[in-house]
């Protein structure tokens, strides 16, 4: 179902028929998605369709149980790894709601996280002084005030500051696959530009990004190679960047009909946007 955009690029993430539940409640009901190096994918969908669940299952949140399917990360079985190991080998999740961690210095947190990734790549770990130089340079990517380094992790940060701190972490960890869960929501237009600029700056032909978003306005700034519509725990439709524009025009009405059809029920059929050929 998912579109092939760069058929020759190596596959970084391959999600096959993924099922997952939380508190014995099935949420993901067969997600398929293939992401290759250099691609930017967007996942859209109504609230409650399972987007954050997908991102947390990929990152290894202990509250979610995988009940079927598989996920290969660069050919390796991702679901066998601890969350910390997934990060160390280059998977990054920018949280929809980053938590506050009182008492833990943001600078020290960023340093320990960066070193965990560096160690895995065989790079030398950075001491406090060396790290300060690195972090100061990366702060410019998100135009963040160095004062945020001296505070506790996310404590008392505004919504926008938390999201910028997420992008700062992404800039430091240099992930191979970055999943950004509604990084744009709650941002004013300036902050949105900064965040989008950061993401664009960090994308390269070797890595890939999965953007979870509700809004076309992010996709005006970051051009996706593919857009997927999620509903009731699966990807209902995939297309190119025009699919997002189409959704903006006609909304998600058609989704219900499509779901009803999939469930084998008769239902009135509102006009669905035509799937687009992307490959």
């Amino acid at each position: 179902m998912s579109a092939v955009i760069r058929p020759d690029a190596p596959v970084l993430l391959e999600i096959r028929d993924l099922h997952a539940s939380v508190e014995n409640q099935p949420i993901l009901k067969g997600v398929n998605l293939t992401i290759r190096a250099g691609e930017i994918h967007a996942v859209m969908g109504r609230n409650g369709s399972g987007k954050s669940t997908l991102s947390k299952v990929l990152a290894g949140h202990p509250a979610y149980t995988v009940t079927g399917g598989s996920v290969l990360y660069r050919g390796e079985n991702l679901l066998d790894l601890d969350p910390e190991q997934r990060s160390r080998i280059g998977l990054f999740l920018g949280f929809q709601y980053p938590v506050e961690i009182p008492g833990v210095s943001n600078l020290e947190f960023l340093r320990v996280a960066t070193n965990a990734r560096r160690k895995e790549r065989g790079d030398e770990e950075l001491d406090t002084f060396a790290f300060e130089d690195v972090v100061r340079e990366r702060l410019s990517v998100v135009q963040m005030d160095p004062a945020f380094l001296d505070r506790s992790v996310n404590e008392g940060f505004s919504g926008g500051e938390k999201k910028r701190n997420e992008i700062l972490q992404m800039a430091l960890l240099e992930p191979v696959v970055a999943i950004l869960d509604e990084t744009d929501s709650g941002l004013d237009i300036d902050a949105l530009r900064i965040v989008a600029g950061g993401v664009n700056q960090l994308s390269s032909p070797d890595n890939s990004t999965l953007l979870i978003t509700h809004y076309q306005r992010l996709l005006d700034l970051i051009t996706p190679d593919a857009v997927h519509v999620m509903a009731a725990g699966r990807i209902l439709r995939s297309g190119g960047k025009d699919l997002a524009l189409e959704l903006e025009r006609s909304g998600y009405e058609w989704v219900d009909a499509e779901l009803a059809r999939l469930d084998g029920e008769a239902a009135p059929q509102p006009a669905a946007p035509q799937p687009l050929e992307v490959a």
Binding site: H61, D82, L93
Partner: protein
């Protein structure tokens, strides 16, 4: 797999000090009677005043009831089943470390407390107490050059009986409480410190207590006297082997600070805590009190309590001198089935006395952790001030935290501030750290040490990092 572990899985812990040293010991028969008290005193060849002190305490103890007001539950202690005196078979305390049984030196080395000349910590003098007896004190000569006396209390009784007689029991009277009375009757050894007028003690003093015998009670007595305008920083550490029975530890510590004197007393308590089902571990019933007798004197308690099955301990300050200052900084960590009821008493007697209380309780597993503190401001304590902050951190959903602040104020102008908070390490916080490459245990330890930072900052430099590691160790092996 640790990724499926939840915060609630923080249960077991590793204890690396649980070994027993195989060494011949002199023990007296178990049980307590007036004869036993006399026997201890005569074995130690004590002067008459001390035998009288012990006998008075013993008779008072017989009349007293074991306290039951703490939030602690444990089966009744049979005081006749305990051995009240045990000492490694080494006749006399040696003047040189070369004569100390190498097995004992090895034991302390294994505990990270090297006593030998080559390896000892460069700026810390150590008194090593094994079971009931002090086996070695380092750096004595260097300290003596400054007039500082640092020795075991048994030696102080022999060499400085006048000082001991003048101060012993003046801060914690023999009948202060049930456990203090018991200690006064049977105390075996402990440390003695005397800092003369105007002297700033040139190094950190430290006593390291090690319980080795399985059936022996530990009753140490520590007395620290800081003369006018003197300063001392003292640290005690404690460990014990793992036995599946409980050992009683009932110590008394008395501090006296005269005009402009300052005493900083730090404790890193890591007695064996029992296993994850609550079998074994030390019952720690301790009375610690400092008296700021002089004007502008200062006594500061810092404690990191991580061990013991039961902790009953309230290091206190009696602020008599005008403008004297009392401080209490505490981290108490309980895990598994541990129970701690700990806190402080700040008794403001003199004018413009000030006290600060910072208590951090961390409860994991099925443990219970209570802060119990009293701030008392007497009628003459004009302009007295107190600030208290009591924070609790819960790990998992089976642990309990309680805070019992008591305030008694007879001074209308006194200023008393109390802040309290409770937080829980959430699964989402841990996941956040993990999803940035930080392992589960390191994530827990980052959050715990962040929570404790205000207290760790008070520890002597050499031990702050140690305390951080200790807490991490206590929560280690708790995953999956």
């Amino acid at each position: 797999m640790s990724s499926t572990a939840t915060v609630g899985d923080l249960v077991s812990q590793t204890y690396k000090y649980g070994f027993v040293t195989d060494i011949a010991t002199d023990k007296i028969a178990k049980g307590l009677s007036e004869e036993v008290v006399r026997l201890i005193s005569s074995m130690k060849q004590e002067p008459a005043f001390l035998l009288d002190f012990r006998l008075r305490a013993y008779r008072q103890w017989l009349q007293m009831e074991e306290p039951d007001w703490a939030t602690l539950g444990y089966p009744p202690i049979d005081y006749q089943e305990i051995i009240y005196y045990a000492a490694p078979k080494q006749q006399e305390k040696k003047t040189s470390l070369d004569e100390v049984d190498p097995k004992l030196l090895e034991t302390f080395e294994k505990l990270g407390i090297p006593l030998s000349e080559q390896k000892r910590l460069s700026n810390v003098a150590v008194d090593a107490v094994f079971d009931s007896v002090s086996i070695a004190t380092t750096f004595r000569e260097q300290l003596a050059e400054h007039g500082v006396i640092f020795c075991s209390i048994s030696e102080a009784v022999k060499d400085h009986p006048d000082l001991v007689e003048r101060y012993l029991g003046t801060v914690v009277p023999t009948n202060d409480n049930y456990f203090a009375a018991l200690n006064s009757a049977v105390f075996s050894d402990g440390s003695f410190v005397y800092i003369p007028k105007g002297v700033e003690c040139p190094m950190e003093l430290s006593t390291y207590f090690r319980i080795n015998s399985g059936d022996t009670g530990q009753f140490e007595r520590t007395l620290i006297i800081a003369e006018e305008a003197s300063t001392v920083s003292y640290l005690e550490g404690c460990t014990a082997p793992m036995f599946d029975t409980n050992q009683l530890h009932a110590a008394v510590v008395e501090l006296v600070a005269l005009d402009d004197a300052s005493i900083k007393y730090s404790t890193v308590q890591n007695w064996y805590a029992g296993d994850e089902n609550g079998v074994g571990g030390i019952y720690n019933f301790v009375t610690k009190r400092g008296q700021c007798r002089g004007d502008r004197s200062r006594i500061s308690w810092t404690q990191v309590e991580t061990g013991s099955a039961i902790t009953w301990k309230y290091p206190s300050c009696v602020l008599q001198g005008a403008d004297s200052v009392g401080e209490f900084y505490s981290v108490a960590l309980t895990n598994n089935r541990q129970q701690a009821d700990t806190g402080t008493k700040m008794v403001h007697v003199g004018p413009r006395t000030r006290s600060t209380i910072v208590s951090k309780g961390i409860s994991a597993g099925h443990s219970a952790n209570s802060y119990r503190g009293l701030v008392q401001i007497g009628p003459k304590a004009v302009g007295a001030r107190n600030y208290s902050q009591c924070d609790s951190m819960l790990i998992g959903d089976q642990a309990a935290a309680n805070t019992y602040p008591y305030i008694r104020c007879q001074q209308p102008q006194a200023s008393i501030e109390h802040e309290a908070s409770t937080c829980r390490i959430s699964e989402d916080q841990l996941f956040y750290l993990q999803s940035r490459g930080i392992g589960f245990e390191e994530a827990v330890s980052m959050m715990v040490s962040g929570f404790c930072r205000d207290v760790f900052n008070q520890l002597p430099m050499e031990f702050a990092a140690e305390a951080d590691k200790l807490l991490a160790l206590k929560l280690e092996g708790s995953v999956g």
